[in-house]
């Protein structure tokens, strides 16, 4: 069925089609309309689920952990400060190997207070053991939520489906919403192998001594490795059913590209326009869009970028004191290439706190790198200049 949906509406449709049984959530801009949509579906009987109202995001995820432990398919959604408040339980959900799906609407962290998009909130959860998928359209959102359950429930790891605030969460698009019957065939009901069993009572998550802890962590890491192939496989299977295939990354006009832009989320769709325009000018440019960030598809990245002349990584995030986070990840993956295959790598930080990244911006970045105007490893794009960086860092204005 075709529907005009914004990204948040697409999340709700995906959760409905996945037949989530427990939704435990707390509202926060710009995530709110996701859970409002789900609450409406539950109230109308369109989704047979328990909607649990809680007093904080910490409790929201705790509710999911409890329900998932009992064998229910669960969902929650949040943004920025809400995700940060969940942090302790983000670790718990992964360590307990619970295939929870969470939608995070990327929003900049405060202060300064901001409700606009920025990836630092979700990327701050990089090392928790969750899988992360960055979406570029409402269509990809609905498709990814359903795929996330399928992958998660096979490797017993939780997944965070990530979408940009407003640029995606609140932008309406034409979306093909799959039929329930088809989704039911694709995604079987959850049968959690380690769910609570009243006949065999046990304390969950109990104390583990140093002689075992590492083994449990090794199992989590192996599950991530397993998930790499699974995301590809599930994306292909989805393609056979719907005509829309997905992989760990998306490559656009990468044949013979000497200059490659690497980015994620909605910026990638803007970038395609710029790539097309520069190709018209006869410049051999391509786009590598990161879709699944955890597990990190290092082999695919190396294969896609090895031997290129120049690579520009655009980060809508920053790990302060170092690079943009995608930039670091790409750089570390490329280190394993032989020296002669390593492209010149430039990182650009842009669009923080919801600042628009326009086609002109992208055109400018690519041209500056190509024409040698950007020589530093990391460049903050389009920010006020500093006369004296040390003084600027401490100036009271």
């Amino acid at each position: 069925m075709r529907m005009v949906l914004k990204g948040n509406g697409a999340v709700a449709q995906g959760v409905r089609l996945a037949r989530a049984q427990v939704i435990s959530a707390y509202p926060i801009t710009p995530q709110t309309s996701i859970i409002e949509g789900l609450a409406t579906m539950v109230a109308r009987g369109e989704l047979e689920a328990r909607f649990v109202k809680v007093e904080s995001e910490h409790s929201a995820l705790a509710g999911c952990i409890a329900a998932e432990s009992a064998g229910a398919r669960t969902f929650t959604a949040t943004s920025a400060q809400g995700l940060a408040l969940m942090h302790e339980l983000i670790h718990w959900a992964a360590g307990a190997r619970l295939p929870i799906v969470l939608a995070n609407v990327n929003r900049a962290m405060a202060p300064g207070w901001s409700i606009w998009t920025d990836q630092t909130d979700s990327l701050s959860q990089r090392d928790t053991g969750w899988m992360q998928v960055y979406c570029q359209s409402s269509q990809e959102v609905v498709d990814s939520v359903i795929q996330a359950y399928k992958v998660s429930e096979q490797v017993l790891l939780p997944t965070m489906v990530v979408l940009d605030a407003f640029f995606l969460s609140h932008t309406y698009e034409d979306v093909e919403v799959p039929e329930q019957e088809m989704v039911d065939g694709f995604l079987p009901p959850l049968d959690l192998p380690h769910k609570m069993d009243l006949d065999h009572p046990a304390a969950l998550g109990n104390l583990v001594f140093p002689d075992r802890y590492m083994e449990f962590r090794r199992k989590m890491d192996l599950a991530h490795t397993l998930a790499l192939d699974l995301w590809e496989e599930v994306g292909r299977e989805w393609g056979e059913l719907t005509g829309r295939s997905y992989g760990l990354v998306e490559e656009y006009r990468m044949e013979d590209a000497e200059l490659v832009l690497v980015t994620a989320a909605t910026t990638a769709s803007t970038a395609r326009v710029v790539i097309d325009a520069m190709r018209e000018e006869g410049i051999p440019v391509g786009l590598l869009r990161l879709r699944v960030f955890r597990p990190f598809p290092a082999d695919i990245v190396r294969r896609a970028l090895g031997g290129r002349k120049q690579v520009v990584v655009l980060d809508r995030n920053c790990s302060f004191g170092h690079h943009g986070i995608f930039h670091q990840e790409i750089k570390s993956a490329l280190y394993d290439l032989p020296r002669e295959g390593q492209p010149e790598l430039r990182g650009i930080i842009a669009g923080l706190g919801g600042r628009d990244v326009t086609p002109d911006d992208l055109h400018g970045m690519l041209s500056d790198v190509r024409e040698g105007r950007i020589t530093e490893p990391v460049t903050w794009w389009n920010v006020l200049p500093a006369k004296d960086p040390a003084a600027a860092a401490m100036a009271m204005g």
């Binding site: 380690h194 109990n206 083994e215």
Partner: protein
């Protein structure tokens, strides 16, 4: 099961769990605080002058065990059927249910329990005979209650009263439309069943000497109430058509044929004034209430004033009589002055001050005075009284050895429920006196009589509850006879609840401060350290495993658990 010597990762479960650590790890050693079951005083019982154990009875009713609830209620209170009808139910004023759909209709449940325990089989068991004898002077609510409790304690009790039937003000001052006389008769019959002997038509000081009582009995309780009327102190008051409110009400309620003029002004704002006005209306006299302060300051039970207004009785407020105008031997009018309210007086109410030159006349054919009552205590020897009041100390004892006091003649609380509470407390003191125990400095609170352990120092208000567990359920309507139908008879105005309504209403009760075995503590305990007692009420906490986290205390909806420091 986890293999104890895993050789490969496959031998390990997906995540850590244990099926024996909860028992093996003695988490009890970690605690520095520990939960303990501790019932506290619910807001309702805190305000109940009669000392009813409301929350416990509500829980029993909610379970459908009306017999147990009735037995509990009658354990120290012989007049629930009467009180359920006449008590102004202060218990409901701070009911924690109020913001979740309205206060519990406690008085309706008390009335139901009273009506359904009028058979003998639910009476408490009488204690072993002590051989001690107690005389009670006055068969009103205070005297009856003291006598009932003392008889239950095994003493021999005789109650003297100058009226032909026991009941005191319940019989002579409360009209049948509020309290049908057969209800009162049945409750008094139960008091006789527990061994209390009533001696009617016997006025102490006239038919039997006070000294003789002191000689024949080991203790005497004086609970004669207030029956003397205060005069208005205005010209014309001695006219035969100016009536004493207490005596007139008694005559009307006794069914005497009276030839009363109409209309009549009833002067006063207390319960007697309202009861007289509403009774006059029912025997065809047109009443009007004249009161010198405003509605706010009226001491009468507000609900009764509402009923009077609903029945169409006019009120002349901020009005004080200055003269009864008599022409040709007949009362033709009551001359009054308008009043205004000044600074608060010693009663805390604003003092009425006359407005100069505001005299006006209310045309009436008769006047009833009901501006307050006094005790008639001529028979009590001098140190035993203080003016027209009994000289009772906080122990309910008078300076006369072996003579105790209760009720309005001593404390003037002015309600039947207060008299019942004082009767219970006086009985406890007299029981201690007869046993030769040293008396406390003050009579303990009436709830001390409860046969269960309650921390009386802590009252459970809304802040002590966990509101997450309560949803709004509305208070049921209470059905009353249409005002138009009331004025021709003394039939009871308020209809009782059905058994089904009672159980449903009891289930609305939050059972504040009182464990009702809801099992929340057991469900929430992360150490599985709480166990239901087999076939006995309540739970046990396994100290070896309770780590003092306090979750049970936090999740108890009704504050029936407390966290206390562990003394090492």
């Amino acid at each position: 099961m986890i293999k104890l010597t895993p050789e490969v990762l496959e031998d390990l479960p997906i995540t850590s769990y244990s099926d024996n650590s909860t028992i093996l790890i003695k988490t009890g050693a970690w605690k520095y605080v520990q939960p303990t079951y501790e019932d506290k005083l619910p807001a309702c019982s805190h305000l109940c002058p009669a000392g009813n154990d409301i929350s416990k009875a509500m829980d029993l009713m909610a379970r459908g065990d009306l017999a147990a609830a009735g037995r509990l209620w009658r354990a120290g209170n012989p007049l629930p059927a009467s009180l359920g009808r006449v008590c102004p139910h202060p218990c409901e004023s701070e009911c924690n249910r109020a913001r979740f759909g309205g206060a519990i209709a406690i008085h309706m449940l008390e009335r139901f329990l009273g009506d359904h325990t009028l058979g003998e089989e639910l009476l408490p068991e009488r204690g072993r005979a002590t051989g001690k004898r107690v005389a009670v002077v006055g068969a009103g609510p205070a005297g009856i209650t003291a006598a009932y409790n003392l008889a239950l304690a095994g003493h021999e009790v005789e109650v003297f009263d100058d009226k032909p039937q026991p009941g005191g003000y319940l019989r002579t001052g409360i009209p049948a439309y509020r309290l049908p006389k057969q209800v009162l008769d049945a409750e008094i019959a139960l008091v006789e069943k527990v061994g209390v002997h009533f001696t009617p038509n016997t006025r102490v000081g006239r038919d039997v000497g006070f000294a003789e009582l002191r000689e024949r009995f080991n203790a005497v309780i004086v609970a004669v109430g207030l029956h003397g009327s205060r005069p208005l102190g205005i010209p014309g008051e001695d006219h035969p058509n100016v009536y004493n409110g207490v005596h007139l009400l008694e005559a009307i309620l006794a069914g005497e044929r009276l030839d009363l003029p109409s209309p009549m002004a009833v002067v006063g704002g207390g319960n007697t004034a309202i009861d007289v006005a509403r009774s006059l209306l029912r025997i065809g006299v047109e009443p009007m209430v004249v009161y010198r302060r405003s509605r706010m300051e009226m001491p009468a039970i507000p609900a009764e004033v509402d009923e009077a207004v609903a029945e169409g009785i006019p009120f002349e407020l901020l009005t004080a009589p200055s003269r009864v105008i008599v022409e040709n031997g007949k009362v033709v009018a009551l001359e009054c002055r308008k009043m205004e309210l000044g600074e608060p007086d010693e009663s805390g109410r604003r003092r009425p001050l006359p407005v100069e030159g505001s005299e006006f006349r209310i045309p009436v054919a008769g006047v009833v005075t009901a501006i307050g009552e006094t005790a008639e205590l001529d028979f009590v020897p001098e140190p035993g009284r203080d003016g027209w009041r009994l000289a009772a100390d906080p122990r309910f004892a008078t300076p006369v050895e072996g003579v105790f006091a209760a009720g309005d003649a001593a404390f003037g609380e002015g309600t039947v429920t207060a008299a019942v509470g004082e009767g219970r407390r006086a009985a406890a003191i007299v029981d201690a006196y007869l046993a030769g125990r040293e008396l406390p400095a003050a009579a303990p609170p009436v709830q001390v009589a409860w046969k269960r352990s309650v921390n009386l120092d802590q009252t459970v208000h809304e802040e002590q509850l966990n509101p997450a567990y309560f949803t709004e359920v509305p208070r049921p309507p209470i059905h009353e006879m249409e005002p138009g139908a009331r004025t021709t008879s003394f039939a009871e105005v308020v209809e009782g609840f059905t058994e089904e309504e009672v159980i449903r209403e009891a289930r609305r009760c939050l059972v504040c401060g009182t464990c009702n075995e809801c099992r929340n503590c057991l469900y929430f305990c992360p150490d599985v350290a709480i166990h239901k007692r087999m076939e006995v009420f309540g739970f046990d906490i396994d100290a070896e495993h309770c780590k003092g986290c306090g979750i049970c205390v936090e999740e108890c909806p009704r504050d029936a658990l407390s966290l206390v420091e562990v003394k090492s």
